[in-house]
């Protein structure tokens, strides 16, 4: 008979985002701009990561009122972030009917040792990672989708590139690894052995893997697709640029035409200035270090 919230239904939903762009928005008007520009989903937040950095203090789940307004105005899926380990925020978002929860290092962690047991929820989750072990630990907890952490709110793509390359490097190593070495990989990465075997067999993560954390231009988005990512999250890059609608549309087109460099040149020709961006060595807080 009818079964809801199965692993197929959760990971299959993430499959539908592939080759697309998910955009951070802070109100209904921005959500409409994102949808009109071709976003496959929007992520509802109180502030984009660049402003969270500036504001300091404790960053929490977005206002439920704003989340509901966003859900009312767009027909595409709406995601929202909960704090790492914040079971109650996650349950509240599920109750509101959010389509996907990002248990995110961009918000201040609520638990300094444990993540949410995402298997227990009807709603699917996405989580960030910097390497294969972290990705597989999150999948073991029930994440139906993974993204690189990168360094959110910087407009600097270098950390997203580092994390994407790191995951792929470890996947490639596993593919050629003899069975007797797998238990030690499991021990060293803290990832369950069965998931390590699955990755070795598939030659990729068993769930959709997006890029996130520093994508600010169409060229950045294309770079992440060249590196083998399934799609792209753009946070501050759109609504911190000088013409969000134009930047959003250009990034969506760049993800489609990532391997057609004449098209990318055309897409990049008449762009408004991108967000300013921050050099990683100048950062006081590294959001990517949150998560266990």
């Amino acid at each position: 008979m009818e079964s809801k919230s199965t692993w197929t239904v959760k990971t299959g939903f993430a499959d539908m985002f592939k080759n697309g762009v998910i955009m951070d928005v802070t109100d209904a008007q921005q959500a409409k701009i994102a949808q009109d520009a071709g976003a496959v989903a929007v992520m509802a937040l109180d502030m984009v990561p660049a402003d969270i950095r500036k504001a300091g203090g404790v960053a929490r789940m977005a206002s439920i009122k704003v989340i509901k307004e966003i859900m009312d105005v767009v027909s595409i899926p709406v995601m929202a972030k909960c704090r790492i380990g914040h079971i109650a925020e996650a349950r509240i978002l599920e109750s509101v009917g959010i389509d996907f929860i990002d248990e995110s290092e961009v918000l201040t962690p609520a638990d300094d040792r444990f993540h949410v047991n995402k298997h227990e929820f009807k709603v699917p989750f996405v989580c960030g990672c910097r390497n294969l072990g972290e990705a597989l630990r999150r999948i073991a907890e029930g994440a139906a989708m993974i993204r690189t952490k990168g360094e959110a709110g910087t407009g600097n793509v270098v950390e997203a590139v580092k994390h994407a390359r790191q995951v792929w490097e470890e996947v490639r190593k596993l593919k050629n690894m003899p069975e007797e070495e797998l238990v030690t990989v499991s021990k060293e990465t803290g990832a369950p052995l069965d998931l390590i075997r699955t990755v070795k067999e598939l030659g990729r993560l068993p769930v959709v893997n997006f890029a996130a954390g520093g994508v600010a231009t169409p060229a950045d988005a294309a770079l992440m697709m060249i590196l083998g990512m399934d799609g792209v999250f753009v946070g501050s890059g759109i609504f911190k640029s000088e013409n969000p609608a134009k930047m959003a549309s250009a990034i969506v087109q760049a993800v489609l035409h990532w391997n057609d460099f004449d098209m990318l040149a055309k897409i990049s020709e008449d762009l408004p200035p991108a967000m300013k961006g921050i050099e990683i060595s100048e950062l006081e807080v590294h959001l990517q270090e949150r998560g266990w």
Binding site: K18, N19, G38
Partner: protein, 197 residues
């Protein structure tokens, strides 16, 4: 015989993998020129608003109307793909569609993601064994023209239909291991290919 996958956005790889298991060659269609080498076309699942916008920017409307509407090349739309092929969306009337099959659809007809589900359904054309259908924020067929043949229902609602060369389903066969619909469609494609030579 080459089956094109409309590759604006969405679950492209999953359809490619299904046809690969049937030993069939696929090609990603992003521009009008790509259509010259294909004998059939799949519109995958994804976000219909995203796809329609990118299709307009890529100049695909006219060549698709010519190939599918006039030359009758077979096409199969799953979920968002079904929405794109329909005449329009009952609950988002401003959404542009291609109008290549005489149906109207309701988007997100079962609700949001937490209402998504899988269920076995019966498709008479595919035999007596139930088909494992996956419905993800799925649409439903709301109005069916006289030339359209209804192929499957779920709880008395229309979920799969065919009009001549256009096949649509509200669910995702590419997310299951069952290849019968991909096989059925490939037979439509090979039939059309022979009629062209």
């Amino acid at each position: 015989m080459i089956i094109g996958i409309l590759s604006m956005q969405g679950a492209i790889e999953e359809h490619e993998a299904a046809f690969r298991k049937l030993d069939l060659t696929t090609l990603r269609v992003k521009k009008p020129v790509d259509l010259q080498s294909v004998d059939g076309l799949v519109f995958p699942g994804g976000e219909s608003t995203t796809m329609i916008r990118l299709m307009a920017l890529s100049g695909l409307f006219e060549p698709l109307a010519e190939l599918i509407g006039r030359k009758k090349m077979p096409v199969y739309g799953t979920c968002a793909g079904m929405i794109l092929l329909s005449k329009g969306v009952t609950n988002y009337s401003e959404q542009r569609c291609l109008g290549l099959i005489d149906i109207w659809v309701e988007r997100n007809a079962f609700g949001r993601q937490i209402d998504s589900f899988e269920a076995p359904i019966m498709i008479d054309d595919l035999g007596k064994e139930a088909f494992p259908a996956v419905f993800i924020r799925a649409p439903l067929i709301r109005h069916i023209g006289p030339e359209v043949r209804l192929m499957a229902t779920y709880r008395q609602e229309a979920i799969m239909a065919r009009q001549d060369n256009v096949l649509v389903s509200a669910f995702h066969p590419e997310l299951t291991g069952d290849l019968r619909i991909h096989m059925y469609f490939s037979q439509m494609v090979s039939g059309w290919r022979h009629s062209q030579s």
